[in-house]
Amino acid sequence: MENTERPFKDQMREQKLFQSRVIVCAVGVLLLTAMLVGRLVQLQVVDTQHFTELSEGNRIRTAPLSPTRGLIFDRNGLLVAENRPMWQLVAVPEEIDDLDGVLNTLKRLDLLSVVDLEELANNVRSRRGFERFTLGNLSESQAARFAVRRHRFAGIDLQEGLVRHYPYAGAGVHAVGYVGSISSDDLESIDRGEYAATSQIGKTGVERSYETILHGQVGYRQQEVNAQGRVLLDPASTEGGEGQPGLLTRWPTPGKHVVLSIDMRLQLAGARAMGVQRGAVVAIDPRNGDLLALISTPGFDPNRFAAGLSRNDYVALTTDPDNPLFNRALAGRYPPGSTIKPILGLAALDHGAVDPHEDHYCGGYFRLPGSTHRYRDWRPQGHGAMNLHSAIVESCDVYFYRLAVELGIDSLGSSLVAFGFGAPTGIDISGEAAGIVPSREWKQQQFANPADQVWFPGETVIAGIGQGYMQATPLQLAHAAAAIAASGRRFKPRLLIGTEDAVSGVFEEAEPVEIDGVAVADEARWQRVRDAMLGVTSEPGGTGRTAMLGTPYTVAGKTGTAQVFSVGQDEEYDEENVDERLRDHGLYVAFAPFDAPEIAVAVVVENGGGGSTAAAPVARAILDAHFGIEDHGDSYD
């Protein structure tokens, strides 16, 4: 025997004990089985009639009910995104006998816009038999044409739907974004149950980042339908129908309305002033980070996405050389050029790298000690004696070459970082680029070749006028201008200023988010830099003066010109002879009114030439719109 090691084990008694337990368990097994059988008898014998009705003759269909998407308003209450009713043609696959024939007939009646009927048929077949499949949208007349022939199409039905509509078309598209059909990628990130009745989802901009607020919550209703799919009992359509036994309805919760910081007047004025030029305009309220305008040109019509874009149209948009889908305001990276001179001036003051009263002579070029390389000023003959104020007003490059060398790349870089360059500003829509603030570490990480990792003194020189490796987005430029206007206070740029409950009408205001400010030892230095920016638009010789002549408000600004094309050491840059795509970018930053700034603006015009000629008039148009000056005339266009 196996277990005789312990002689005092009472084999017989143990076996009896075990066997008695086995018998108890066997009884338990039988009892539980009896319970199961009882339950099965209850379901399959006693209540089988009920369940048979549910499953065979009458089927209960749980139909999801889509929530109404929240509306989007601008800060003045103008409707920016709405829902328009329209007819949709839907198919219930299980009720259609001859799918191909039915689709062909519909096509012949011009009720289907789809080209590839075979693909459509496959899509319908891939659905669950009882799931409604949307074949397409119908106009009023198409819907009427179908309605009179409805009896011929078992399993095809009309359904009232809502389609997203953007009254301002492309004017706000890069801020508001658009909705489109739910893609397989979208499906990964959403709760499918919540979107059971929803066919569209926010793709970009506010529509995307506030998707959960705008979408609302799905509802459902249970319907009894017969084998032909005719609804026998729909509690949702009958008064007091919720009380029907076994049929439930839960109404969807509509999405909340969203109120944007955007001012559509500025948005329209900016788009008009940009005209056919490529570029971006961003306007920020320095007091709270509200984005008053966010424009990227060229734009595109979001209504085409909402209505369903054909493949060809989509390809045309994506392959357009002007790249209208690209959001230049957030993701366009441009050398900031001279627009960063006020910031570098402030940094140099704060580090004691420059005496604001000391004059330096500008002879048209700058040379590093011990080098023959000439860093040229934009004005070949030079500016003569320059101090900090006049160097900003006249945008003297040579003064800032020297200043950058005195300041050193490390302090220069950290001062730019403090203003928000080199990192996303944290705006509440996605797609923002970080830009680049070059530093010794950045260069080491960026380049694989050790020879390229060394920081050269010449790179510090050109950093002084915002050239070289440095890249900034228009949003960062506007954000930094706002920080100057607000003496270093910074707010996270935001598009959403509140939400409104669609049912109760309760408005919920979003609080501005203040972020780390720019610390300066002496507050007076802010005023010194701002005075210089005022000089840019008001003093003789100021580079931004022409565009701001005669404004009833006071503006402080700064022009910038960003090189796209490197001119050889002994060559002249000649705008006429340079290909349009290689021409300089024009930049302009400004804030107004000077004494109590309420708007800061940044404009980038790609290949527009200089900042004062291309970009400043756009900034003027924005500011005029903001201060309610309706008809400025065409003198600046």
């Binding site: 025997m1 196996e2 277990n3 090691e5 312990r6 005092f8 084990k9 009472d10 143990e14 076996q15 004990l17 075990f18 066997q19 008695s20 337990r21 086995v22 368990c25 066997a26 097994v29 039988l30 539980l32 089985t33 319970m35 199961l36 059988v37 339950r39 099965l40 008898v41 379901l43 399959q44 014998v45 209540d47 089988t48 009920h50 369940f51 048979t52 549910l54 499953s55 065979e56 209960i60 749980t62 999801p64 299980e94 669950r128 038999g129 009882f130 149950g193 059971a196 799905v218 459902y220 249970q222 439930l248």
Partner: protein
């Protein structure tokens, strides 16, 4: 397996040894084997309907059956004393894997359960269902029954520590099944009725505390069980649709391949956890009674093997293997017909799925080995 010759004329009450031309004896327990194959065959017929006559899925299931059957044949040849020798090592090994999963498991469906071993991913918690009863039986094999209180404490730790680890993954369903497997083994050791009563009281008292530690989705399952109508689009949908499928099947069913609930795709998880409902819809109460009868024959045979086994270890192992098998049947069928909350337990030998098929057939292999031991001793 093709080389197995079975002496059909042998007394089916006893395990059977047949002699091959080469002189190699192959031990199988004929009633066990026949019932097992009958259930598996029935399962194939239902699966064919449930997967919409999808050939490649059926082929995969057939491969799993083949692997499981090989495991059955191999384990049936092992003298049971080796199970006893291996038991602590198996337990420690699986326990180690469980710890490894905690540290380095793949996160699947929000829970750390799977361990990737290059080609295949394994779920150590599944093996705990076998390892825990083996360990309990090993601990008691040379001690006298019934266990004393300190011994019961050790046994409880053997069951509860792995169960807690699994519950933390979190996989409450498997943890409860491990507790059931271990608990039933302890029950079979003849532990005194007072201890059983005490455990029952403690269980009732601690239920509200356990509720505090449950995750939202676990609580939601309990709510859905209590009131499926509360969530007809989500978890409640499954249970509503499966009761409709069962109820509409009636006494004789709608006929093979004619289940509307299954074929119109109202029924979720048709080929795995809810295959019982497909069977109920197409074969009706008669089909289910046949299936339950087959399960009862299998359980009866297993309990008989335990009843007749020669020593403590094999008794406990045979008893617990059989009873756990029944627990799976009951939990799955009970869940599908709305008697129990939804727990992810497949219907034994019928649901599509590899781990369950292979471990169950391996378990039956051990049963056959224990059954054959008596024969061997008698010889």
């Amino acid at each position: 397996m093709a080389t197995a010759t079975i002496d059909w004329g042998a007394n089916q009450q006893r395990a059977l040894r047949s002699v091959l031309p080469g002189g190699i004896g192959l031990n199988v327990d004929v009633p066990l084997l026949l019932t097992m194959l009958a259930i598996t065959g029935f399962g194939f017929i239902v699966l064919y309907s449930a997967v919409g006559e999808n050939g490649s899925l059926l082929l995969r299931q057939a491969v799993r059956c083949g692997v499981g059957f090989c495991a059955f044949l191999v384990l049936a040849q092992v003298p049971p004393k080796y199970f006893r020798v291996w038991a602590p090592w198996v337990f420690c090994g699986v326990f180690g894997l469980l710890l490894l999963v905690m540290i380095d498991g793949q996160v699947g469906k929000g829970a750390q359960r799977w361990l990737s071993l290059g080609v295949v991913s394994i779920q150590p918690s599944e093996f705990m269902k076998l390892a825990v009863p083996l360990m309990v039986a090993w601990f008691m094999h040379d001690r006298s029954l019934p266990p004393t209180l300190p011994q019961v404490t050790v046994l409880a730790l053997i069951v509860l520590v792995p169960a807690l680890l699994i519950a933390r993954q979190p996989d409450l369903g498997t943890a409860l099944l491990v507790v059931a497997a271990g608990g039933l083994t302890i029950l079979l050791t003849g532990v005194s009725k007072r201890i059983i009563a005490a455990v029952g009281v403690v269980g009732l008292v601690s239920a509200p505390i356990a509720w505090q530690f449950m995750l939202d989705y676990q609580r939601a399952r309990v709510f859905t069980f209590l009131n499926p109508e509360s969530d007809p689009l989500g978890a409640g949908y499954n249970i509503i649709q499966s009761t409709i499928a069962i109820g509409s099947g009636g006494i004789f069913g709608k006929g093979w391949l004619n289940g509307t609930q299954a074929h119109l795709e109202f029924l979720p998880e048709r080929s795995t956890d809810f295959i019982f409902a497909v069977m109920a819809e197409e074969f009706g109460l008669m089909g289910l009674l046949l299936l339950l009868a087959l399960y009862l024959v299998l359980v009866g045979r297993g309990l008989y093997i335990a009843f007749a086994a020669q020593d403590t270890f094999t008794r406990l192992v045979a008893g617990s293997l059989t009873l756990t098998f029944f627990v799976y049947v009951f939990v799955n069928a009970g869940m599908v017909c709305g008697l129990l909350p939804i727990v992810g337990v497949p219907l034994p030998l019928v649901s599509a799925g590899g781990t369950s098929m292979v471990t169950l057939m391996a378990g039956f292999g051990m049963l056959a080995a224990i059954s054959g031991q008596k024969k061997r001793l008698a010889a």
